[in-house]
Symmetry: C2
Subunit: 150 residues, 2 copies
């Protein structure tokens, strides 16, 4: 299991779908195709934008804090039939609470709580020197949250 | 403070904005203008649609349950400069935990947990026999979540 950080949000020009890209310190990439609202929320968190009223993922952070819990880590845990899975590892009163979630929500919360993101070894990633990685990069057009907008 | 139920989601034809309408048992109406993703989420909950993977508000319900807490009620608590405010009242180990939220998120969670929704008396509502209520109803065009879509 390796730690990844959020490289950014992008649009996959094939299919016009939002993507969040995770990157390891040695340049491995993991693109995850996500929904528009979640991409927007991740984009706002990357810009450290503080909205006047809590957006949905800000509310989740309020709830975690209200329950005196802490998000210890996010684990991108699996890939099945094109769908990525994630787990949120919370700590509350010394107890570990693990909750199933989509990677998009998990990443949106991790960015807001500065929790680390790990990727299970079983998940196929893009190696820096693999020709497929160059093809992937051509497909992904980096965007700002305001390019999505609701 | 009176209890309201969710009448449905609609589009306000003036401005093309999503609206969730709350209704009291004696026919008072409270329209709240909300975001598209939240209207979609409320619409799915009204249809009791169970998605294959947890949507963001389903994740909030998982977190509440994971923390062995319960949403006791939602209170639409205020209106200031056109913005509605809400409070989530949670119970955990006999303790009341109150968290500030937008009405849209609050309603999306209330529907999924069957928590009651209350509206503070200070909030202006639409009386059944007020001519303004008929005007409001003309502005609101009921929609299904698939009419929003992402």
């Amino acid at each position: 299991m390796n730690e990844y950080t959020v490289k950014g949000i992008a649009i996959d020009v094939e299919g016009n779908l939002p993507v969040v890209t995770l990157e390891s310190s040695d340049g491995k990439l993991l693109p995850i195709w996500i929904g528009g609202p979640e991409a927007y929320s991740i984009g706002l968190a990357l810009k450290e934008y503080e909205p006047p009223r809590p957006m949905t993922h800000d509310l989740i952070v309020s709830i975690i804090q209200g329950f005196k819990s802490k998000l210890k880590r996010v684990v991108i845990s699996g890939l099945s039939e094109g769908t990525f899975y994630a787990l949120l590892h919370f700590e509350q009163n010394g107890e570990l609470i693990v909750i199933d979630a989509r990677p998009s929500d998990s990443i949106a919360i991790a960015l807001r709580t500065k929790a680390p993101i790990f990727v299970e070894d079983s998940i196929p990633i893009f190696e820096p020197d693999d020709p497929k990685t160059a093809v992937l990069k051509e497909r992904l057009k980096e965007i700002r949250p305001e390019d999505i907008g609701f």
